[in-house]
Structures are given as C-alpha cells and as structure tokens.
C-alpha cells in the first residue's frame, strides 16, 4: 500500500465510525422503543392494543426485508425532506438509522417474548405502573439477550455502512473500492478486510462479556 494512502485510510475509518456510531445510537434507541411497542401492544400483553400492534408489525415486516441498497435509494425523497440532500455521509446515515431501527425492533421483540409473564404479573400485583414495569422488569430481565441482539445489530450496521460508502458516503467500504478494487491494489482491500474483521471480533467479544455479566443464572 502506498504510504500516502494512510491518512486517507484513517479518514475513512473515522467516517465509518461516525456512520456506525450514530446509527447504533439513534437507530438502536428507536429500535428499542419500536420493539418495546411491538411487545407491549401484542394481544394479551401489558398494553395490548390490536390496531397499534398491527400497524407496527406490518411496518416492520415491510421495511425489514427490503435490501438496504434499494431502501437507501427508495427513501430518497424522505431523506431530502429531513437532511436536505440525498447523497453524502449525513444522508446515508439517516437511511441507516431508519433501517437499523426496524431491524433492531424485531430483534428486541423476539428477545422480550421470552420473559416469564409470571414476573410481569408479580410486578403488576405489587402495584407497579406499566412504564415502571418496562423500566424495572422488562428491560433488566431481558438485558443479556438484548445486549447480544445489539451486538448482532452492530455487524449489520457495519455492512450497511459499506454499501452506503460505495454509493458515495465515504468510509472504509468506499476506501476499499476506490483505492483497492479500482486500482487493482489487492493489499488495500485486504487491509480494509482485516480492519473490519478486527473491529467485529472486538465488538463481539465486548458484547459477549457484557451479556454474560448481565445474565444472573
């Protein structure tokens, strides 16, 4: 690899980090809220509400299976309305946040379904309000699988960031294509792959150990 590429690699790394971290924070939070909504409004649950559940459920089912590349292009008008442009790192991060929220919503819901309903009934019997039950029972009891789900989401978001990068958002994906693939410089591509593998391994290790600590069994 040419030494003059090193600063560019660092810049790309920073851009990827920017896209991924913002998406994890914003998309993760929205996904948690959406997932809680799905879980709570499901018939028979704490805030059972069939119409709300149906709307959320259909929305998640529509957005989630769309390939990210197509989704990114398809929500262009919305992106323009919110961010003001349809290209560039900010615009793509916006699309990533939305996709991540819907992906994470389903992960959250699936992890929450495994909570023992008896524990929630016990909290109700002690006079706890639904909001308190979410905060002090639902989330803490499912914390370990939620952390693992969030770790899983990280890998998905990293994948999305590479696609966004290719379309002109910058980041490691863009760097590998522009300076590696198009220049027939396989070393550059390989370095990027190694960096991504190391990041994923680190995050997975962190997620696993946090999840284990949260698991009181």
């Amino acid at each position: 690899m040419r030494p003059d590429l090193v600063p560019l690699l660092w810049e790309a790394f920073g851009e990827t980090l920017y896209m991924v971290l913002i998406t994890l924070a914003v998309g993760g939070f929205c996904g948690l809220v959406l997932g809680l909504g799905l879980y709570l409004t499901r018939p028979g649950n704490l805030l059972a509400n069939r119409p709300v559940f149906a709307v959320l459920n259909v929305a998640v089912n529509i957005v989630r299976p769309v390939p990210f590349l197509i989704f990114l292009v398809a929500i262009g008008p919305l992106t323009r309305a919110v961010v003001g442009t349809t290209i560039g790192i900010e615009a793509f991060t916006f699309a990533m946040c939305i996709m991540a929220a819907f992906v994470f919503a389903r992960l959250v819901e699936q992890n929450l379904v495994s909570i023992d309903p008896g524990v929630i009934e016990a909290a109700r019997a002690m006079g706890a309000s639904p909001l308190r039950i979410v905060r002090t029972v639902v989330v803490p009891e499912a914390l370990s699988p939620l952390i693992l789900g969030y770790t899983f989401l990280f890998v998905g978001v990293l994948d999305m960031s590479a696609i966004a990068g290719y379309l002109g958002g910058g980041g490691l994906g863009d760097f590998a294509i522009v300076n590696g693939y198009r220049q027939y410089d396989w070393a550059v591509t390989a370095i990027v792959v190694v960096i991504i593998i190391v990041i994923v391994q680190l995050v997975q290790w962190l997620g696993n150990s946090l999840a284990r600590r949260a698991l009181r069994r």
Binding site: V119, A125, G127
Partner: protein
C-alpha cells in the same frame, strides 16, 4: 364471623374464546372462569380455595387484587368496591395486597434484597427505610444470610421465602397464595405452610390460599371453599368439610388427604390376614377418642388389634379413624359393637367368613 375483609357478590369473570376477541365474536365460545360467586372472607382467617385445575380458583383470587376485573357482579376488598375502578385507581389497591406464586416469580436480574425492596420502591420508600425493612423481612422469613444472593442460587423453599418476604414488604392486610407450595417437596411444603401460619398469627394478616392439595387445607386453613366449574360448590369450616363432605368432588379431595380408611382392596387383604371381625371406628373431637374405644372393648372382654388407620389433625383438631380386628366370642363382639356405636360412628366390615359391605358414612 367477624367483619368480612373480602366480599364477592355474584362475581362473574368471562374470558373471550380462544384465538382472541375477533375469533370469539365469530365462533369460539367465551369461557366463564368464575361463574356467579358469592363469598365472604373474614379478616384474620386463613381461607382455602380448593379445586382441580381449571376450576376457576386462580381467576377468583386475581379478582381480589384486580389483576383481573369482574365481567359482572362485585368484589369489595377492605371497604373498597373494585367494580369499575380505573387502572390507575386499582394500583394502590394492588399494592396493599401481597401475593405469592407457584413459580415464585422472582426477578432474576435482582438479588434477594433487591427483590424484597421492589414493592417498597414502587410505594416510594426512601433508601434507608427500604434497607431497614428488607433486613427485618429477611430475618422474619429466616433467610437473612441470602440477602446478596441471586434467585438462581436458591432452593425452591428459599425462593418462596423471598416471595413471602416481598409480598409482606408493604404491610398488607391480605396475602394471596396462588398454589404457593405446589412446586415444592413435602418437607419444604410443611415449612412454607408453617411460615404462612406465622404470618397469619403473628402479623394478623388474612391469608387466602389457592390449592389443589387437600393436605394444604388440612394443615392450615380455618375455612374452605370448594370450587368446580367456576362455582363454589361447598363452603364451610375446614373441620366440618373434612368430617362431613357434601359434594362428590369434596369427598374425593378429602379422601386424597386422609388415607385412614381402608379401600376395598385393602379390606380384602385385611380379611385375608385377620380372621376376626373387622370394624372401622371414627376418632375425632365430636365422637369417641381412642381411649373411649379401648375402654368399651375392655368392658366387653373383647380383644381389639389395630390393623389399619390413622389419626391426624384437621384445622389443628384431632381427626381420623382406626380399623380394628375384634376377637372374642360372638356375643361379646356384638355387645362391643353396640358399645362402640354408642360413642362414635362405626363401619362394620364383617369377618373373612361373613364379609359385610356397609356404605361408608364419609
């Protein structure tokens, strides 16, 4: 009976049919889990509700702390009519009633102390008050040394003790026990029942016990309601229900808790082993004591050998029966039988040569 603390008046709870409301409207019939129950539970008693699974007893008890609300009729708890109260108004009512569960329902993410502190947090206690109360409660239920342990490290009996401590945290007047001992072994069951009895005696808390085990009713309940298909089919003093059960379902429950009376198969074997006259005499508070029985036999010059039976306690009063082989000359045995009938109820099974099948009076 003193002032009722819980009153059901024609209480009905209907659940929509399987598959949710939409299905119910179309075809599947709704389920009436509780079907017109009128019942008073007195302050300070240990009240048992017994029935097979699906009899509606769990739903009935959930009407008391409004985890379920009535479809029709009313439930009054400690002077508050729960009918038509909003969810927000029901929360303080729930907080004032303790509840323990078959599967304990402890929070796995919290320590023992954290679990017991939970209802205190809900009730808005300060941290120092909570800590003091938790220590006091853990000492009361006898697991002060487990305060920092997580529920996964506890045995079933210890988990239920945590459940009881948690349920008592906010000084409730009522404790609901939903099959609280059904997941425990017999020895641990006895410990937990003794603890519930202490809760009732030392703290004056009204305890409502839901169970399918007559043994639980036998050992701690003052009064009992027998439920079948959503209705209370028999109600009364636990001792009365044991000694004179009216309904077939009650008789089955009583027979499951008391194994003092020989079954036909046992009788056949007894007759095979013992050539003399086999009789079963009841021993309880009202009729003869075993001393009286032995006195009658001695007076008539009849030798009596105990071959089967047992005397136990129902609601802390003696109850049971003894099956005896009477041997002596015919006239003396006849006289002894008459003498026994004068002091208690007697079932004559005859002899091996001349068996008698009398309808059991139980």
């Amino acid at each position: 009976m003193s002032q009722p603390i819980i009153s059901f008046r024609d209480a009905v709870k209907e659940f929509p049919g399987r598959g949710g409301r939409r299905r119910a409207r179309r075809s599947a019939p709704a389920v009436r889990a509780v079907d017109g129950v009128t019942l008073d539970i007195a302050a300070g008693e240990i009240f048992g509700v017994i029935g097979y699974s699906g009899a509606g007893k769990s739903t009935l008890v959930r009407l008391v702390n409004a985890l379920e609300t009535t479809t029709a009729g009313s439930v009054v708890v400690d002077g508050t009519d729960l009918t038509g109260l909003s969810e927000a108004r029901l929360r303080p009512v729930r907080a004032g009633i303790g509840m323990i569960f078959q599967q304990f329902n402890l929070l796995r993410s919290r320590t023992v102390a954290g679990n017991v502190a939970y209802p205190l947090e809900v009730a808005g206690w300060s941290r120092t008050d909570r800590d003091a109360r938790v220590a006091e409660l853990l000492a009361f239920v006898g697991i002060a040394d487990k305060a920092a342990a997580y529920p996964s490290a506890l045995s079933g009996g210890q988990k239920q003790r945590v459940g009881i401590a948690r349920a008592l945290a906010t000084n409730p007047k009522i404790l609901l026990a939903d099959e609280a001992t059904s997941a425990l072994d017999p020895e641990t069951t006895a410990d937990v029942l003794a603890l519930l009895q202490r809760v009732n005696r030392e703290l004056g808390i009204t305890v409502v016990v839901i169970t399918h085990e007559m043994e639980v009713v036998r050992s701690i309940c003052h009064r009992v309601a027998v439920m079948e298909r959503g209705r209370v089919v028999e109600l009364g003093d636990a001792y009365r229900v044991f000694s004179a059960p009216q309904q077939p379902v009650t008789r089955r429950f009583v027979a499951s808790a008391l194994r003092d009376q020989p079954s036909p198969a046992v009788l056949d074997r007894l007759r095979g082993r013992h050539p003399g006259r086999i009789v079963t005499v009841r021993v309880d508070e009202v009729s003869g004591s075993s001393a009286q029985v032995m006195e009658v036999l001695a007076d008539r010059g009849v030798h009596g050998t105990i071959v089967y039976g047992g005397i136990t306690e129902v609601a802390e009063r003696p109850y049971g029966s003894l099956t005896l082989e009477l041997s002596g000359d015919d006239a003396a045995v006849h006289a002894a039988l008459a003498g026994l009938r004068a002091v208690t109820s007697v079932v004559d099974h005859g002899t091996a040569a001349l068996p008698v099948t009398e309808g059991s009076d139980r």
